[in-house]
């Protein structure tokens, strides 16, 4: 494994191995001394073309806990016409001696473009590209589900049923999760208004629901809520926040109707009272903070696998 650009880069076994390794990393994160020397002397760049404090922070901690040197480079609104090109930005960074680029970009496919380009030699980790993928989020969600549902640090997710609810069209989390969960044997369904869950998304999942209550009647093991952006209302995807919340929000009453074993997930940041009620978000069934904690472990595992085990780039 040279890069992590898409869940499609991983075989089922590689994905399970990464989750198992993440479980080892979780153990490190519980120690007093949360540090491993494995990436001592390696340099990792957080290359963020789009703001995301939490993801950047999570990768930064992960790299530091493996003793790598981390630098953050925030390049907002890079465009050929407006400023420096991607090629020039990366050329500049690599000239300073870099082993891995953790790339967050507003354009889908940007991480792949860098990985494929003749002008980049670094290992590339996709930390979210446009509305395409966010593979480490997929991994941390699967890790969370595996531990909470199965209580295990090994194996796949055969038989687990997951419902992902919200703005599927614009969600890289929905894509990476569908790809990984299904690879691991889970059944995945999408739910949301048909403007945000186009019929073409059937290529990604097993089923689509346009009625949240009908979907919830199917007793899913996991209900994953996605963040809804205010700008979706401006481009006529949904009428208004209130209608969305009533139709597709995990409200108190919908939460009360869930089995006590159903996990409630959210990749954050949440719009409390819009797509998820505080009662649901703060419940014992909620895994939201575990997801954040597991994010560091998963990113350690990915960095370790790419940089410690594949030799110098």
């Amino acid at each position: 494994m040279r890069h992590l650009l898409s869940i499609n880069d991983l075989s089922k076994q590689e994905a399970i191995d990464l989750l198992n390794l993440s479980a080892q990393m979780q153990e490190v994160n519980k120690r007093d001394v949360k540090k491993l020397p494995a990436l001592n002397g390696r340099t990792v760049v957080n290359l963020f073309f789009e703001d995301s404090t939490r993801t950047r922070f999570s990768f930064e901690l992960a790299a530091k806990r493996l003793s790598a040197d981390v630098v953050n480079f925030t390049a907002k609104g890079s465009s050929v016409s407006k400023g420096e090109s991607l090629k020039d930005t990366i050329g500049t960074l690599e000239a300073m001696g870099v082993d891995a680029l953790i790339v967050r970009h507003h354009h889908s496919g940007a991480a792949l473009t860098i990985a494929n380009a003749p002008w980049s030699t670094s290992a590339v980790i996709n930390a979210g590209d446009g509305t395409h993928e966010h593979p480490t989020q997929g991994l941390l969600d699967s890790l969370t589900i595996r531990q909470r549902l199965n209580g295990l640090d090994q194996g796949d997710l055969s038989g687990v049923r997951v419902l992902i609810v919200g703005d599927i069209l614009h969600s890289r989390v929905a894509r990476s999760n569908a790809l990984l969960l299904r690879k691991l044997g889970a059944k995945v369904s999408y739910c949301g208004p048909s403007t945000l869950v186009p019929s073409a998304s059937l290529g990604l999942v097993d089923e689509i629901y346009y009625d949240f209550d009908q979907a919830l009647a199917q007793n899913f093991d996991v209900v994953m809520m996605l963040r809804i952006q205010a700008e979706r209302m401006n481009s006529a995807f949904i009428p208004n926040a209130k209608e969305y919340s009533q139709l597709f929000g995990l409200t108190d009453s919908r939460f009360d109707s869930l089995s006590s074993k159903t996990l409630v997930m959210h990749p954050g940041p949440m719009n409390r009272g819009l797509e998820i009620s505080s009662k649901a978000a703060d419940s014992a069934q909620s895994t939201i903070l575990e997801q954040v904690a597991n994010g560091v472990a998963v990113r350690m595992a990915v960095l370790y696998r790419l940089l410690a085990q594949e030799g110098k780039a």
Binding site: S78, V80, S108, G109, L112, T113, N116, T131, R175, P198
Partner: protein, 432 residues
Amino acid sequence: MSHYLIKNAQLADGTVVDIEINDQMIVQVGSNLSSTGELIDASGLIALSGLVDLHTHLREPGFEGSETILTGSKAAAKGGFTSVHAMANTAPVADNAAVVEQVFALGKKAGYVQVQPIGAVTVNLEGSQLSDMGKMNKSSATVTVFSDDGKCVSDSLVMRRALEYVKSFEGVIAQHAQDPALTVNAQMNEGELSMKLGLTGWPQVAEQAIIARDVLLAEEVDSRLHICHVSTAGSVDIIRWAKARGIKVTAEVTPHHLLLTEDLASEYDPLYKVNPPLRTQKDVEALRLAVADGTIDIIATDHAPHPEDSKDCEWGEAAFGMLGLETAAAIAQTTLIETGLIDWKRFQEVLSSNPARIGKLSDQGQELTPGSYANIVLIDPKAKQVIDREGESKSNNNPYAGMELNGAVKHTIYKGTLTVRDGKVLELGENN
């Protein structure tokens, strides 16, 4: 003064003849001709009237880093063309007589093909105020084709008025059919693949809705409408319906929409980013059939050169467009003749006589008979060529690099002047 005798060339109808050229004209066509002119052995070659492109971006003035009228003319000659229509989206925009006269003059000076400027429909391609279409028509460039290509004339009233206005001098509006509201930030064909790749979809209806509206407007005002780069099966159906109704609509398809599909976007290589986008195999098949059954009248290249930097970047930042002049004939042969869909007669219609008729170029697309201008392309139909990324064009955004295509242009003659010999573009002055 040029004087040639082409021996044993096969015409589009299958007959094998000799063709004598003197100065700019064909003077004799027949068997066993003899002449003092230079002999061109055309055994095994197909002779067609020189190809005519109704849709070329020559980029000059304004974007000479991508292409100039000279380099674009050479690329056209290499592709077997004897005329190209230069699109109006230059800088400054060709929305007035001065710009079109300049382009026309530079084309003449280059001398490889007849460069026929297209005028903008609206001032600065902004879609609101009509450009000086009448003055451009009366200018030395005699513009008859008007297009805001790159942008759609989306306002219904402006489109109606434009169609009505050009009627008086038998002009034609060439519409880039793309509803802007339905394609905000659109990146590729809308469907399962765009969903998977997370790229904003360019829905087929955005093209079809404009075509449907425009054929009705053309019917209403009884004027000529041409549809640029038709890309979907649904558009073909609408055009077929309009033609059956007697509406004066003509339509073009690009070589890339006859050959390539959206799957090429899978790796986010901007080489395959084009507008309208590559569609599905089903669309490709419908477009090929439409060329065969007459629904689509012509193949036009939409040759769109871009500098390296505009393609060596993120898909979302990259420019739309691909090269087309040098490979158009081979793609047409590969996708339509080799598949048995059309014969060389239809090939000559869609790549030469029809575009000449739509563009009102009386010197182009003529039958190869005595008295016609000597605009001739000689194609070796048996040749196989592996496409080089670099050609005569100043740009390299060539999506066919490395592909093997059937057929190759051997020689091109523009008004009696040999511009391409044995597949090589000649420096003019070398041979006459």
